[in-house]
Symmetry: C2
């Protein structure tokens, strides 16, 4: 640190006054948000373990080259694995650890996709063979599905796996440029094996896309196997961010693998080349899907809460304007424009945490049903989880960027932690299903449900309200003053009425059209909106359910009530045209909602810092000079700046070649390299 | 290129069919968008000069370290200056050249801020002294206003300039950590001089913030002068992007500068330490402000058009789903969801180009008025330019990111050009006035105008419609079918009625309140919306004016009409709650607007590629594998990937230390560094 005296070592807390003003028991809220006492204890312990291990430091991540970044992420992944073995960490603890290390690497795909897919699609015999290796990382696997020319449309994949009965092998081949496998994480430089999705061809017939295990690198020296072309696909958005991951490309030039490397739980090819489907219900795969999506929603809450923590703390430290008569300027968090953009995101982070808890329950419920061969509610579960994945990831990505903007100029510095958070998070909008395509799937489900309702079938679960469609499409809202909006049943009816009306309007359009597929395509922008309305209703309803439950800890329930109302009213005012267009709400009722929303901002204000403290993120995990627990923002921005590579020399590199000739008008002189 | 056969050298145009389908004369549109034949000729010539000079290559920008990036940007800046001198380029040509080099560097601030401020605030004598040096780059200047703790609120700056009559000098000092100058571009490593904004103190009295010229580095060896602490503030958002700029920090420890270094056009301090204001009208400064904001709006159009060009071309190349019976999959651009998000942005890029032309006229008009001491319409001009700066930069930043998302997974690769475009552009939302604060200034103007209207004053220029407020707050829209929405006067009235009603509602709230300042703060979210509505009206009205003019070139006028209607209807449907809440529109009329919008999508579709071709961006300027003119996307993504540093070695660096020990279960062995 140059030019400014050290502050000394005394502990400061620039946010102490904010914390003193909180109206609830923060520790109880922490336990609630962690998901329980046990989860709280595990998270705290592992978060601190990571934060205190210098190998996991990440301050310089935005400054170093891609090569250093990648090499360092290999080191972190290996170091984590060593700790896991050394300390005998549980699966839960290991997962928390990977999360807190906060740096994407090959093990994410190995554990999250490769092993999960093996469990779902390999026979027991295959699992015995491959999982044994995979569990001890004797092989590193990736999930090679998408291709250069093919993403969401899995049926369009071009890679082929042609069975050759003469040798009892499949021949993997990449027939075109666009068939190059492209994007799989961990593939570029780390993986030894790939789960390859390819068109199965036997006896000259194409049976569509199936999964195969292919070894791609030698286990002796890590050199790619013959006729395998593999590499990294290049730099991605942002400094640090997802660039620690080796997303890869992969081409096969007639590479042979044993027939047994086809994952054969759901279908198999015999030695004679005969294709046979198993009698296992294909629906069993849904369990894994629900599990993965539940994880994505839970992660959305974590990421959004990190951004909100940074923005709330910095908004409380930062002052601007209004400091008259020698008084300090006003804290930015006191401005209504700031509250209007920031507090709804705070409420949303809470909402997603709660809907994440509910999805955990849903996963358990689905697992039990599948075990009992009860597939009745799968379409509803599929639509619900697809939609929640879509809206939570989109809102979180935009919300992180919003938080960055709410930090003004300093949010643009990597030292704020927010640019990297956004860059690392935003792929969640694309992977595991493009968010727009997922909403169209939800819309299709809604239309189908309405058809079934018309023919007397009772809708279930999150679609149950559509059984009440007659009422919902005819009733009007009865709000006559601001505080009427605090009534949970009023809120719930509003969101149900909105969603039902949007779905019904779409259904009528499609039903009237001569070609319903064409009408669906033509109507797709409206269908996306209808699906979004349905998903927002799910989140609102789960938040309301939770807010009505009793909870330990002084003031905890009251805070959740405030945030629940704020979440719902913020959605309502943002999307008020949906409610206005069919006459369910009047302009005056929307005004009441806006007034009530502001009253809620005032309730949140004194608790804002404590409400983000309750997410319990360590300074290491936040990685932000603006979001530090102690609020000592400016000291750390200033100190951090001096670590930039440009500050290594007082006179900049390039001065003699490129600056001096300009300043001295000697552009054509001997030292100039221009 | 490995593993895939070369395509040979024949020229391909994967978009030829798209181009053949265009229904207008593209070359004429190019000339229109360039602003005329002369501008077109200059732009084309300079763009190609830059594109063909290997020093200005930028493919590797996202891959290299910050030090290399910075050093290379010094080289580019110097090389450009050499070309400017060598070829004797005009000011216009030099400006185009800096733009096409497309890499922020110190000369942007030197020419754009340092010299501009000198012209506006220095006396003629001072200009003679400093500009002579500055024009030949014998000194490099930056604009040191913002501080670590102070951005938008200039009056809150803490740096002091205390006059010492005993030596006839000012003493510059940074009394606190938060007074550190922070953010000025070019300051970190390049500038020799800084225009420092500091509180002028003389005779123990604080006269507020004034500008001073301070030399900060030696002209002999570039070493910072004694008691000056200067450096770079660190890495910013994104790879490449704005990181080629040395945004800096600066501290003074009682640094003395001659009294004459205060810019004295508007106020001065005498040898005796007496503070005196000049009799020059302070309003003269408005000219520079209008000029800078006009430039920002023009730039918004350029940036948005770059993103839209990439997204439209790639959407025409990319295919997904729907390929039945061996037919190719559907072009992504044919999907309504894609059109719904992409085509309004295309229309917006055109809209901003047109409003940029109008602001050029406005600048000429203001300059003339100022020369005649006519300050009557300055408040209107101030509000209008503030508002247009705010909405165009916000929409452009979000629009670039939207275009990136519309390119699916591949948009996330730096090879798409879009991550860097976003990262480099988004600071425009903060610099030259935070966008939210600017809209609040517009709102203040609207309220004041309504008060004046009430007392009989006729509003002027872009606020003239408020003279019609009685009619606008009582009339209802008369649209009864989709095509009614194509009537320009119908569109104009809708936007006028919406804006007037929102402003009136806010004005009534504030008027009724006991404390109007408190009410203004409380109402600020609504005020921001009212201001945005007013600014959107300005853009719509200027686009309508332009679309009604005759233009040379077959079909050009028709295309502008389509885009104008699409722009207006997209705003209307997106913000329909504003129109619905007061009953100006019914839900059915909004539905008509949506239907009409889709009909316009179908008009745009066959012209989409030609409409982006008309922006005439070179492949160099776009810097995007996805947005290439020839549409040869996949070849260039594939080729580009192999240039990543991770692909330099077949077996990754770090394998022996960090991967092999994991794979071989020798974490504690001799080669492990874990």
């Amino acid at each position: 640190m140059e030019g400014i005296e050290e502050r000394g070592v005394k502990e400061v807390d620039y946010l102490a006054e904010e914390r003193a003003g909180a109206q609830f028991h923060v520790h109880s809220m922490k336990i609630f948000l962690a998901g329980g006492q046990h989860e709280y204890e595990v998270s705290t312990r592992i978060a601190n373990l990571v934060a205190n291990d210098p190998v996991f430091a990440k301050e310089d991540r935005a400054r170093i080259s891609r090569k250093e970044l990648y090499k360092n992420s290999l080191k972190k992944a290996g170091h984590a694995w060593k700790i896991i073995l050394e300390k005998g960490l549980t699966e839960e603890e290991s997962m928390r650890m990977r999360a807190f290390i906060d740096e994407p690497n090959y093990t994410d795909l190995h554990w999250g996709m490769f092993i999960t897919a093996l469990k779902g699609q390999a026979t027991e015999e295959q699992q015995h063979k491959w999982l044994r290796q995979a569990y001890k990382l004797a092989i590193i696997g990736c999930y090679a599905q998408t291709e250069l020319g093919h993403g969401s449309n899995v049926q369009g994949l071009e890679t082929t796996a042609t069975f050759d009965p003469s040798t009892d092998e499949f021949v993997l081949n990449s027939p075109t440029l666009t068939s190059t496998k492209w994007w799989p994480g961990g593939l570029g430089k780390a993986s030894t094996h790939a789960l390859v999705y390819a068109r199965l061809i036997t006896d000259s017939q194409d049976y569509g896309v199936h999964a195969f295990i292919a070894q791609i690198r030698s286990l002796d020296d890590h050199i790619p196997l013959p006729n395998v072309t593999v590499g990294d696909i290049g730099v991605k958005f942002g400094n640090g961010g997802y660039n620690s991951m080796d997303n890869g490309l992969l081409r096969f030039d007639h590479v042979r693998i044993p027939r047994e490397n086809m994952l054969m739980k759901l279908a198999r090819v015999t030695e004679q080349g005969k294709y046979e489907r198993s009698n296992k219900p294909r629906q069993l795969g849904y369990g894994a899907m629900v599990y993965i999506r539940q994880g994505i929603v839970a992660e959305a809450s974590v990421y959004l809460s990190r951004a909100v923590t940074i923005a709330v703390r910095y908004s409380a430290v930062r002052r601007q304007f209004g400091g008259k008569d020698d008084k300090a300027e006003v804290q930015v968090i006191d401005y209504r424009t700031q509250q209007h953009r920031l507090f709804p995101l705070l409420a949303t982070a809470y909402a997603y945490r709660i809907v994440g808890f509910w999805m955990k329950w849903l996963y358990a419920d689905v697992t039990e049903r599948l075990n009992n061969n009860d597939f009745s509610n799968l379409p509803e579960v599929h639509a619900c989880t697809a939609g929640l994945k879509s809206i939570t990831t989109s809102v979180t990505a935009d919300g992180i960027e919003q938080c960055r903007k709410l930090c003004g100029g300093h949010g643009y510095l990597c030292a704020s932690g927010l640019p990297e958070l956004y860059a690392a998070y935003v792929p969640a909008c694309t992977y595991e299903g493009d968010n727009t395509i997922l909403l169209l799937q939800v819309a299709r489900f809604l239309l189908k449900t309405l058809t079934q309702v018309a023919s007397g079938t009772k809708p279930v679960g999150t679609a149950a309200y559509l059984g009440n469609v007659q009422h919902l499409t005819s009733v009007n809202c009865e709000v006559s003053q601001g505080k009427d909006w605090l009534n949970p049943s009023v809120l719930l009816e509003a969101f149900e009425a909105r969603s039902a009306r949007m779905a019904v309007a779409c259904a009528m359009h499609v039903a009237e059209a001569p070609d319903s597929e064409l009408a669906f395509e033509e109507l797709s922008p409206e269908l996306v909106e209808a699906a979004r309305a349905h998903c927002q209703l799910i989140v609102v309803s789960k938040f309301i359910e939770q807010a009505q439950k009793d909870l330990p800890g002084e003031g905890v329930k009251q805070q959740l009530e405030v945030l629940c109302n704020l979440y719902a009213l913020s959605l309502l005012t943002t999307h008020s045209s949906d409610f206005l267009a069919t006459g369910y709400l009047t302009g005056t009722q929307v005004s009441h909602a806006k007034d009530q929303q502001k009253a809620l901002f005032s309730c949140v204000r004194p608790n804002a810092v404590a409400l983000v403290d309750a997410f319990d993120h360590t300074d290491h995990y936040l990685g932000s000079a603006l979001g530090r627990y102690d609020g000592d923002v400016y000291t750390h921005l200033y100190k951090g700046a001096w670590k930039d590579p440009l500050n290594e020399s007082v006179v900049t590199e390039g001065y003699h070649e490129y600056l001096r000739p300009v300043l001295t008008q000697q552009l054509w002189g001997p030292t100039s390299k221009l």
